[in-house]
Amino acid sequence: MTAIPAPVGRPAKPVRWARLLAALIVLLVVLAAFWHVDIEWSDLWAAPKKLWRVLRLMFGPPDWSQLPQALSATMLSVAMAWFGTLIGIVVSFPLSLFATRGLTPGPVRWPIRGVFAVLRAVPEVVIAVLMLSVTGLTAFTGALAIAIGSIGTLGKWGYETFEAVDRGPLEATGAAGASRMQVMRWGVWPSARPDVFAFWLYRFEISVRASAILGLIGAGGIGKMLVDNIQFRVWDVVGVLMIVVVVVTMIIDQISGTIRNRIIAGRWQLPIVTAVSRRRAARRLREHAAAAAEKGIL
């Protein structure tokens, strides 16, 4: 190779037609969407001014007298998220065992996986809309909607985790004469446990966001308070509520992230620090993000 004289200048870049075509199609689709969508573009130019006005009303200054009420509404939302996630865990755990390859035959496995897939595809809000017709507008309805929504994700993450464990202990327990349940208990569960606990917590974080959304359609909690105040344009209260939502979500994410980190990495570490510091953290977070892709909430 060294005998070949160095070429003058760079070799020409190969033209990648398939890629070019794909880019062109994407561009056309985007342009078509812009062209066809039913929007008064003049609204867009007016938007910054209007938004600025609303922001000034919201935060200049916010109405702190509503803070206690806002906090108790938030607590209700968090309770909804916790209880819903817990029911989701209780229901999805045995189901995900039955959906694990190697433990159950296909005819048992596939229907369960199908149910998980359907539950993942329906947005929580739609589930809640359906539930409202049965149990009415209560926080319990919201919790149930979250429970049903989380069964899909938790179930899928569950069987994926169980299938991804190291086969060694599994074979060993099997060879020692364990029954299927015993294989599960001693061959699979010990290695799957940290991941399972971690994604339970992660799902709780998602549920906290979902519970705020469910409030928006009337299921109680901070979301309901928000939508009421937005509708009546009580902007200074909305400002307080926004601050509360942001702060509480961030605090819960930090706590939950710290615990998840402790479960998986085995040491206490603030997630912010880890994220700034290194590669492994980035990779792990990416994996979680990929898992979140299943449900569509981050």
């Binding site: 938004l51 309770a79 149990t135 990416r286 892709a293």
Partner: protein, 276 residues
């Protein structure tokens, strides 16, 4: 060790206490965790006023509703075409806008490409705040403050997407091999040039794949943001549910299901091709 001992005398049980190391005692930790979890659960159950009885009391009501839901009225389909298109357009436009905006922000939000710590911290903080507000909340704000319809939906989704995309892409940047960038810096280029020539080509497959993922999220999100008046299928859901037209509602939900599943399929195919 213990394996070797028991191999040599398979019939005798070796006294286990001397063979195995003593297990660390962790039961009290587990118990403490359990107590905390149980306490939070009891508190949450009281707060949401758990009433499983209501499910059975309303069972008659439910079965009627479910009966109607199981018979979607396909003749309603023509009415849903416009909202369906609007949902798709909202998703596509907001993905495109967010993709363009979030690329430079991602470079500012990664330790690997942004040498200035104060700027990094500031950008990340703003992004954290943006991310912690749910999309429907943005939508309802914009609907009230700007205008009803697709525009508010697009604005809401753009904000929501920037939060996600910047997080995913900047974290991918953190994990990249920085050799090329170092070489560029050593050869005398500035940070912007080094990032563009060395980091951008490395990140682009991930960037594109995450953009497709965000499009997928948007399809899901844009079906529901209409519930607060931001256009698309959600507005239709709101309309038919206030009139208790469950035959129509189930058709709309069916459409959402098909849309989401098809898109998930396409997106996972495209992403697989990209990563390969």
């Amino acid at each position: 060790m213990s394996a070797a001992v028991s191999m040599s005398k398979p019939t005798e049980h070796p006294p286990p206490a001397q063979q195995r190391p003593v297990r660390p005692r962790t039961w009290w930790k587990a118990a403490a965790v359990l107590v905390v979890v149980a306490a939070v659960t009891v508190w949450s159950a009281i707060a949401v006023e758990v009433d499983f009885g209501a499910l059975f009391r309303n069972a008659g009501n439910a079965s009627r509703t479910i009966g109607q839901l199981l018979q979607p009225d396909y003749s309603y389909f023509p009415e849903t075409v416009r909202p369906l298109l609007e949902t798709l357009e909202t998703a596509v436009i907001s993905t495109a806008v967010a993709a363009v905006l979030s690329l430079p922000i991602s470079f500012l939000a990664s330790r690997a490409t942004d040498p200035s710590t104060p700027l990094l911290v500031a950008v990340r903080f703003v992004m954290n705040v943006i991310r912690s507000i749910p999309d429907l909340l943005y939508a309802s704000l914009f609907v009230t403050a700007v205008a009803t319809g697709a525009l508010s939906g697009i604005l809401a989704l753009v904000l929501f997407n920037i939060g996600i995309l910047v997080k995913l892409v900047s974290e991918a940047l953190d994990g990249l091999d920085r050799g090329g960038q170092e070489a560029a810096l050593a050869a005398g280029s500035g940070w912007i040039k080094a990032d563009r020539s060395a980091m951008l080509p490395e990140i682009s497959p991930i960037y594109i794949s995450q953009t497709i993922y965000v499009l997928e999220l948007n399809i899901r999100a844009s079906t529901v943001i209409g519930l607060v008046g931001a256009g698309g299928l959600g507005m239709l859901i709101d309309k038919v549910r206030t009139f208790y037209q469950y035959h129509y509602l189930s058709l709309v939900i069916l459409e959402i299901l098909v849309l989401v599943v098809v898109l998930e399929f396409v997106s996972s195919y495209a992403r697989r091709k990209l990563v390969r």
